[in-house]
Symmetry: none
Subunit: 222 residues, 2 copies
Amino acid sequence: MKISEVIYSLYKLAKVGAIDGVNISTNELGKLLGLSQQSASRRLIDLEALGYIYREIRGGKSYVIITEKGYNLLKKFYLDLRMIFEKDKNVLFRLRGRVFTGFGEGAYYTSLPGYKTQFVQKLGFEPYPGTLNLRLDLESIKMRKELELLDGIIIHGFEHNGRTYGSAKCFKALIENKIKGAILLIERTHYGIDVLEVVAPVNLRKSLKLKDGDWVTVTVLI
Amino acid sequence: MKISEVIYSLYKLAKVGAIDGVNISTNELGKLLGLSQQSASRRLIDLEALGYIYREIRGGKSYVIITEKGYNLLKKFYLDLRMIFEKDKNVLFRLRGRVFTGFGEGAYYTSLPGYKTQFVQKLGFEPYPGTLNLRLDLESIKMRKELELLDGIIIHGFEHNGRTYGSAKCFKALIENKIKGAILLIERTHYGIDVLEVVAPVNLRKSLKLKDGDWVTVTVLI
DNA sequence: ATTACTACACACCGAGTAA
DNA sequence: TTTACTCGGTGTGTAGTAA
């Protein structure tokens, strides 16, 4: 059996739920694969013999579940295709969260020369003293976790008068499709992973007329 | 030629750069595909005849570039796999666009019984008569193009009094993280691809206090 | 070195059919 | 209804070879 047929069959099976297990007749499968009932039956037999699926008869129909071997084969294809299609695209996340008032320390940190000079040099703007705090929605928290894994712009920590100041990872971002700024993933933050801190050259609260509870969209540019 | 072979061949070709164009001998391609030189040669001839690749001889070798038809086929395969593997992330895309006033025909179409009953049945709500028109930003237009390739919820066209009404593809969506509705990709629309039409059970302009030029974020859900 | 034709072999598909 | 066997036709791959 050709590898292309294995992949195509696993793909069609996965599409109807065979990763978690699916009850399907060979007739139905045949239609999905563009084959006769007889050929679909043989296809299942072959896939099972090769270890790509597990199969049994349940209620007269075939119950099919893709094995780990089959899952890994299909996933490798998926990841290859992702490389192909997402390679030279500005990978983009769009996070969304509600404004809230934080501890007010953002203003202190962003005005420290040890950080400020790095911001100017690496982000191209002098940050307005203070960060905009957003409490992210569920999907944005997932995206934030992916951002943690990515290489961003590193703002290095430093030591001053015996006190250490932690480092942060930044990504350039567009706030509300209007204002260029950056998001900060701060190493040692007092906030949880559901909080995102945003900096910009201007006072975001004022410029965008924001008040606590307002939703803000941040487009991360990579 | 079987579709599975077409996809597999395009995948291997894309992997070595055939989306942008690649110089490859039939011998090399044969090795990639697990075929003889002769079969690889025939494979290229067949793919070209079917319109999936463009091909010419350059410097003694075959220069191969995947056509739009081939690209779309492979991309659909990729997006399907993404749906399969990323289904636990239930956000597909986050589109963003500015409100504008359209021709006002949305109200007419959404109130037609031929469409309305399908909306209720397939989307689970009766649409407020009228659509919200959004002019998308650049990144959202790219996302919209990807949505065109995906399987969505199909609203079928129909004929009434000798006039035909086109079909549309829908995706459930969350507008401004607040209101459940759907986006419409209309088959025969008067607008360009930079326009997205949004429906919801309520008057979105009123509920979200929107006016022309306001930015709106639409989260497309699986 | 290339591509790609012709000829032939065989793997694969579907019809018929059994269970 | 199912699944899945046998068997015959054919699509697809390869070898040989030309250009």
